[in-house]
């Protein structure tokens, strides 16, 4: 059995320790907000936070996160996280999503970026692009992603 702390809750799961955390979330725990895109840390659709840092859950074995705290899109956008709530609201305000499949990962990367900034700091376009470069959106919502992140940052001041 492997012990996991996900969104503040303890879980015991009986899986192969090499199983990527993505599949524990999706198949074992039934949390489908985190998406499967590439299975190789290339597209960012599976992004979750490990102790506040954005990681690719499709390529991180569950055994490597036993001691850490995992946060997923379900928790980040439930209104209890100040930065997550601001990002979620900006995403809706800017009507960012098209197909929406990559947006969980986009929001998790954006939230990690904004949470890493000093209070009141506004990210530059270069900082936004650099933080979001690992997240593919095949629909091409990038212009609205940029605008939503800048807007979310301004509401956090």
């Amino acid at each position: 059995m492997i012990s996991l702390n996900i969104n503040g809750q303890e879980h015991e799961v009986d899986v192969d320790p090499e199983t990527p955390i993505l599949w524990v979330l999706r198949d074992t725990l039934g949390m489908s907000g985190t998406k499967f895109g590439c299975g190789a840390a290339l597209c960012g659709a599976c992004t979750v936070h490990l102790d506040g840092e954005a990681i690719r859950s499709c390529s991180t074995p569950v055994s490597a996160v036993e001691s850490g705290k995992i946060t997923t899109i379900e928790k980040t956008t439930d209104g209890t996280d100040r930065v997550g709530a601001a990002v979620h609201a900006a995403w809706v305000r800017h009507d960012v999503a098209q197909c929406g499949y990559c947006q969980s990962g986009q929001i998790m990367s954006a939230t990690a970026l904004l949470a890493s900034l000093s209070p009141g700091a506004q990210p530059t376009t270069e900082e936004i692009d650099s933080a979001m470069a690992g997240n593919i959106c095949r629909c091409g919502t990038y212009a609205r992603i940029r605008a939503a992140i800048a807007d979310a940052a301004s509401t956090l001041v």
């Binding site: 907000g33 299975g39 990559c102 095949r138 629909c139 212009a143």
Partner: protein
């Protein structure tokens, strides 16, 4: 996502249907009962409910004469709390019809937009495209073909609600009005739609209804946020891949390395030993191939099981494509005579004062939608239920029925929200659904009584074929010093997409596939001779967002720029001259982009150049004026100004999103690594590490403008794609002096 269907290209029967669909009021043939009622009342059925009820047998007959696509009960549910749920007759995979169709219906219904919801449909006949008569999400057709349909549905339900209120209050219906989800009487008494719905939906459906004057629209035309914006910004939106039934298992498939190959030997002992693996099944695959499905509790176990398989493949009976040899073969074919599409009178090329020769090469392209292909099947003895993101629910369900040995009516396909698709979710051979059914069937035969989700890995998806075909274009053009084209001898070599599909009979003529040539010449009045060759190649091909225009727009718009440059003409003025007075929408779109971009009035910063292109596809016109530069040998797109003509823009916020998205997909085609190539029959790319798609760091600034229009709307899912790459290429050519002749760009 599907080829342009020119109205004139369709057979007479389909033309008739299309003409009908273009009218703005119902023109159904009056039947006996209808005539009787209208003869008595001189008014439409349903407006006077008491009489309609009294003559219910006549009214029922009138309602029965409505087609399934016209029946409100299949499309609208109104809950007691007033929530209006609109069923979508299409797949929603990003293009926004899940919001636009409810907007159209809610407009005529006079619904309270805050209470409008939407849901996806099934393979029920109510959800066919009302003009094509088949389930189809493609060709940027949804808004174009269902605009009148959804208006009429809304108007019918409104009439029924009015009738129910008139009965409830015992007043003449003409004294009533509707507003934001309620019926109001002349004394301002008010009944919410939720209070009236049950009685209203039990009433006969009016056959003839009046539609609003577009000047009275209050929802259509308003920039409106997507109905799924909240769910898609919080991980709450369920996609096909997320659908889960109790006890559901997951299958992954070991597919042969070469399309169509079979199994020589299989050792599955290690795979069966993987914890969680329930079955290893040999299954027939697409194109006569064989594969091995590993069924397990979850994807990871199934995938581990697949990795443990020892399979030897027999590739001896199938062609093993090599991209380099294929190009050489295409070059040889391109120099031969063949069937011609245009055969204009041309002066002999040799006599033209100026000449231009060009060869273009376009690679295979993968759709690479973010949600990998998947399909869930639950089988019982006399029934199959399927959940998948399908652009063609009816044909997919029919193919499933055939594969399962069931009757079509024994299969229900529940359309699931999809993470992109771009054409890949309408497989012309129904490969995705058939494969999932074969697996479910084999699993059942092996004693596994569980619903099974077949899930493709990214590598499976990228190597699984159904690409935008590779193409070679050759042009020999003669023109004069004013840029007047005197002769344009052109050839295209590329696989036919439509041959062998349901569209072959009216889209492939004289051996020429309209999906290959769409976008050529149009709208320019050029003397062109176009020769087309369709080689047979062992690589499955498919429509891919904007289809033929993915390559023809590039060829046309870069060559015209070359001619303008060679004759010292401004590329905008040159195009405007060619458009003449005939192509007003092209002119308006281009002029809007020019005006808003500052083209001709603004000095660009050092190292940047303007690029221009305009193209019509799927009945909409998009013009781009872009700014680009070259840094360290790499082309860079900085700014895109768009002029868009899609007639009435139902949801301008979605139109803007579709233009941005299509432009970025067009930009992807230009980037190094955006190509599928084959070596010894094997696809060389496998994931986003070796198949490039645009990332945020590639993305320019956008400024998108829509030409105002009240004409019936045309689609916008695809038309933003074709002109992007040529506009970008034209800017780069102005910087380097060297035209670009292939995608992805090669500046060496």
């Amino acid at each position: 996502m599907f080829p342009n269907m020119d109205h004139k290209e369709l057979p007479r029967a389909l033309q008739h249907i299309m003409e009908r669909g273009r009218s703005t009021t119902v023109q159904a043939m009056p039947r006996r009962g209808f005539l009787k009622l209208t003869g008595t009342l001189g008014l439409a059925v349903g407006i006077f409910p008491n009489l309609a009820v009294a003559q219910s047998s006549d009214a029922d007959e009138a309602a029965a004469s409505l087609k399934p696509t016209e029946q409100p009960s299949a499309f609208v549910q109104i809950a007691p709390n007033g929530e209006v749920t609109v069923t979508i007759n299409r797949l929603e995979f990003g293009q926004g019809v899940q919001t636009a169709l409810p907007m159209i219906l809610a407009e005529e219904l006079d619904a309270d937009w805050n209470l409008v919801r939407s849901q996806l449909g099934t393979n029920d006949m109510a959800y066919v495209d009302p003009l094509f008569g088949m389930h189809l999400t493609g060709g940027s057709n949804t808004i174009k073909n269902s605009f009148t349909q959804y208006r009429e549905l809304g108007a019918r339900v409104r009439a029924m609600l009015l009738a129910a209120a008139a009965t409830r209050w015992n007043v003449d219906v003409s004294t009533l009005r509707t507003e934001a989800g309620a019926v109001l009487a002349s004394d301002d008494r008010k009944l919410g739609y939720g209070e009236l719905a049950e009685a209203a939906m039990a009433l006969p459906v009016p056959q003839k209804i009046a539609l609003k004057d577009p000047e009275d629209f209050r929802i259509i035309g308003q920039p409106t946020r997507r109905l799924d914006a909240q769910a898609k910004s919080s991980g709450q939106q369920s996609f096909g891949i997320d659908f889960k039934l109790p006890g559901q298992l997951t299958a992954v498939v070991a597919r042969p390395p070469v399309f169509g190959a079979k199994i020589t030997s299989l050792d599955d002992s290690a795979a069966r030993a993987v914890k969680g693996v329930k079955a290893v099944l040999r299954v027939p695959l697409d194109r006569g191939a064989e594969g091995v499905a590993v069924v397990a509790d979850g994807y990871w176990q199934a995938s581990q099981g697949r990795d443990a398989l020892k399979v030897e493949w027999d590739t001896s009976a199938v062609e093993k494509v090599d991209s380099e040899q294929q190009l050489a073969r295409y070059r040889e074919m391109g120099s031969r005579p063949g069937p011609r599409q245009f055969d204009s009178d041309m002066v002999p090329l040799e006599t033209a004062p100026l000449k231009l020769e060009a060869e273009f090469v376009f690679p295979y392209l993968a759709h690479a939608a973010m949600e990998p292909l998947n399909c869930t099947v639950r089988l019982s003895d006399d029934r199959a239920e399927i959940w998948m993101g399908s652009q063609s629910a009816g044909p997919d369900a029919a193919a499933a029925a055939t594969a399962l040995g069931l009757k079509p009516e024994q299969v229900v396909l529940n359309v699931q929200m999809s993470g992109g698709g771009f054409g890949r979710r309408f497989s012309s051979t129904y490969d995705t659904v058939i494969e999932a059914c074969e697996i479910a069937k084999a699993a059942k035969a092996a004693g596994l009584n569980a619903p099974i989700r077949t899930l493709w890995s990214r590598e499976d998806d990228m190597r699984g074929g159904y690409y935008r075909p590779m193409h070679l274009h050759r042009a020999r053009i003669g023109f004069d010093n004013q840029g007047n084209v005197l002769a344009w001898d052109h050839s295209i070599v590329g696989q036919s997409i439509l041959t062998g599909t349901v569209f072959e009979q009216f889209m492939v003529k004289n051996g020429i596939d309209a999906a290959t040539t769409e976008g050529m010449r149009n709208p320019y009045p050029l003397p062109m001779r176009l020769t087309v060759h369709h080689p047979k190649v062992n690589v499955p091909v498919l429509w891919w967002r904007s289809v033929g225009s993915t390559h023809t727009a590039f060829v046309m718009e870069t060559l015209l720029d070359d001619i303008a440059r060679a004759t010292d003409q401004d590329p905008v003025a040159y195009r405007m001259r060619l458009f003449g007075d005939q192509h007003i929408r092209h002119r308006d779109a281009l002029q809007l982009a020019v005006d808003k971009s500052g083209y001709g009035n603004t000095q660009l910063s050092e190292g940047r150049a303007w690029g221009v292109a305009v193209h019509e596809s799927f009945s909409s016109v998009v013009a781009y004026v872009v700014e680009a530069s070259v840094a360290d040998g790499q082309p860079k797109l900085h700014r895109v100004t768009a002029g868009v003509h899609c007639n009435l823009a139902v949801n301008p916020l979605t139109v803007e999103a579709q233009v941005q998205g299509a432009a970025i997909m067009g930009l992807s085609m230009c980037l190094a690594g955006s190509a599928i190539t084959l070596k010894d029959g094997v696809v060389e790319q496998s994931n986003f590490s070796d198949y490039t798609v645009a990332r945020i760091t590639d993305v320019p600034e956008f400024d998108i403008h829509i030409v105002p229009s009240a004409e019936p709307p045309t689609g916008m899912g695809e038309p933003g794609l074709p002109p992007l790459a040529p506009a970008f290429a034209n800017a780069i050519a102005r910087l380097t002096g060297k035209p670009l002749r292939q995608l992805p760009f090669n500046l060496t």
